[in-house]
């Protein structure tokens, strides 16, 4: 039998299998809603403290896990440092080098030693949080494995962005004193235009805070929502064929999400470095 004939027979068998798969009736119609995956229900109910709900929910548990993983990782790595690094140490060194030379060394002109600890910590925290968000952990409504990420929550990302916002102005005021605010507008500009530029700069500072928070939040939320849609679509279509195709597609989306997790951590850290570096070395 020639190769061509074999190929045609193989294709026919595959097509037949797909048609057969399409003919098998799917399971019962199941209730599915992506939005429910992102609802925060208290796991441990705690009383309110000055009007703030202190209950432990999914996002809090994810933050604890992220912190625990990072702390354990840091202790283990620092205790077992070797001159000839193994695979794991080499990977962590690569990430550290990216944060130290690529992010801080690449965009900050001064204050590298002072601000590397913050920017490195933010990079590793966001990265760990994003990657842990891609693991299905048994924290669903009925303790079933479910997807969630601490960074897919606006409160978490807004807190991280607030750190950068506060540190930016703290760094600027500490280095440049009262001139920090005066330097927001170019000194050579004519009077009325100068005040206008200053106000525009003030608005842009606030929007930096918002965009830093919303970018990370929306990216992680969108990624998890797309994964949820791909997983849940099989339930809606009630077809094994659709399930096969969508599960295959979800693998590709998952790989893309790993890439996004890295990119978003990188962008968050590098923009923090750009903002803090910009406040330190102002243009006059």
């Amino acid at each position: 039998m020639s190769r061509k004939a074999k190929g045609i027979i193989g294709a026919l068998i595959a097509l037949g299998a797909l048609v057969l798969l399409a003919l098998i009736p799917g399971g019962e119609k199941a209730h599915f809603s992506v939005a429910e995956e992102f609802e925060l229900k208290p796991i441990v109910k705690l009383p309110e403290l000055v009007g703030i709900d202190m209950s432990v929910n999914k996002a809090v548990v994810y933050l604890w896990i992220t912190t625990a993983v990072l702390v354990v990782l840091a202790i283990v790595i620092s205790r077992t440092l070797k001159a000839h690094p193994g695979r794991f140490q080499a990977m962590v060194e690569l990430l550290y080098e990216l944060a130290h030379d690529g992010i801080v060394g690449g965009v900050m002109k001064s204050g590298r030693r002072t601000w590397f600890p913050y920017i490195g910590a933010v990079f590793f925290f966001v990265l760990a949080s994003n990657l842990i968000g891609l693991l299905p952990l048994p924290l669903g409504e009925h303790w079933q494995p479910a997807y969630y990420a601490a960074t897919a929550n606006l409160y978490v990302t807004l807190t991280l962005a607030l750190f950068t916002f506060v540190f930016t102005h703290y760094a600027g005021i500490r280095k440049n004193g009262v001139h920090y605010f005066a330097n927001w507008a170019p000194a050579s500009a004519p009077p009325v235009l100068k005040q206008l530029i200053w106000v525009i700069h003030l608005v842009s500072e606030i929007f930096r805070l918002v965009s830093l928070a919303v970018r990370l939040f929306a990216n992680m939320l969108a990624g998890h929502a797309i994964l949820g849609v791909f997983f849940g679509m099989a339930l809606i279509f009630q077809s094994y064929l659709a399930a096969l195709i969508l599960q295959g597609g979800s693998v590709l989306i998952y790989l893309f999400e790993i890439f996004v997790a890295f990119i978003q951590a990188f962008i968050f850290a590098i923009l923090s470095a750009v903002y803090i570096g910009g406040a330190l070395d102002q243009e006059h």
Binding site: A35, G102, L221, I263, I267, I270, L271
Partner: protein, 76 residues
């Protein structure tokens, strides 16, 4: 058209139109960055870093549209 249908329609339009501009922008920016890297491979590192900063800023616009779409569906 009832209010629910209008909400869903608005969310769809917000996401679709909102993705248009950033998509064009990202394409242009990454294209230009690749062009410059091809011309001057020795500064590829610098260009790549700046490209990622630009990606972050441009992409945020599409994500605002995404958030607006979510607000239309679930909050409004």
């Amino acid at each position: 058209m009832d209010a629910e249908a209008a909400k869903l329609l608005g969310a769809g339009i917000a996401m679709g139109v909102g993705a248009l501009g950033p998509g064009l922008g990202l394409g242009m920016m990454i294209g230009k960055a690749l062009e410059s890297i091809a011309r001057q491979p020795e500064v590829a590192g610098d260009i790549r870093t700046n490209m990622f900063i630009g990606i972050g800023v441009t992409e945020a616009v599409a994500l605002y549209a995404f958030v607006v779409a979510l607000i239309l569906i679930f909050v409004a």
